[in-house]
Symmetry: C2
Subunit: 143 residues, 2 copies
């Protein structure tokens, strides 16, 4: 769906809002930083209302989402020099479609397991979060 009505009706799910800080808006998605210092962790949320699955998006939106996954993956890998990226659309707990893009290191708290449910979220030092936020915005050429 690409109608204005759909875009206007969209709002970020409160759980996603609570667990993140905004990074910025891409053409389709709102990009978020998960406030868990265990892992450099971005989340893309397409601004389309009522969408829970990738296949609820039309083909043009899916293509755009893949482009945005690639853009944030490239930026995240450059900023973190990570060992591996994990990309996932799960949505078992929060149905609103959102895509995790997580930088993994071989010495991180969950490696080699997926990150979900392994460790409680760990708060960022404010300056570390600010630096991460600024570095990502620079890589993504966000004004």
């Amino acid at each position: 769906m690409t109608s204005d009505a759909s875009a206007q009706a969209w709002s970020l799910h409160p759980v996603l809002r609570a667990d993140t800080v905004p990074l910025g808006d891409l053409l389709l998605s709102q990009a978020l930083i998960a406030t868990d210092a265990n892992y450099p962790w971005l989340i893309l949320v397409p601004r389309r209302s009522g969408v829970t699955e990738l296949i609820d998006l039309d083909a043009a939106d899916r293509a755009q989402l893949m482009d945005e996954i690639a853009a944030v993956s490239t930026a995240l890998r450059k900023v973190t020099a990570c060992d591996k990226l994990n990309v996932a659309a799960l949505g078992n707990m929060v149905a609103q479609l959102h895509v995790h893009v997580i930088a993994r290191r071989k010495n991180d708290a969950a490696w080699p397991k997926p990150v979900w449910g392994v460790e409680p979220a760990r708060a960022y030092a404010p300056d570390a979060l600010d630096r991460f936020h600024a570095a990502l915005r620079r890589e993504l050429a966000m004004a």
Copy 2:
């Protein structure tokens, strides 16, 4: 990469081979059924050698992979009448790029957690696997 040389050099990682049965070849990916009867679970493996991340694929291959994720997601949801799809490219254990497309039910063995590492794989009854395989091939219009 779309060169013939790349396609010829590709071979399926032995761990992926051991844990699956082939469903069939799509334009880019080999589609596999994970032989774990806990969850209806497909895996797409792009036939490109040396690729571990989505962003190791070029843009045309990424777009094709998204189309194939959508096609197998649609088929899997139709065949299983699942509650949720989980789509993920992790690769922490097996680096060869592969995308999980998993049909989740609210009463499955891991719900609402991600499936990885929760339950030991459970063998399919041979006729159940045959029926699942045939239904998917029919939905995907595989000859």
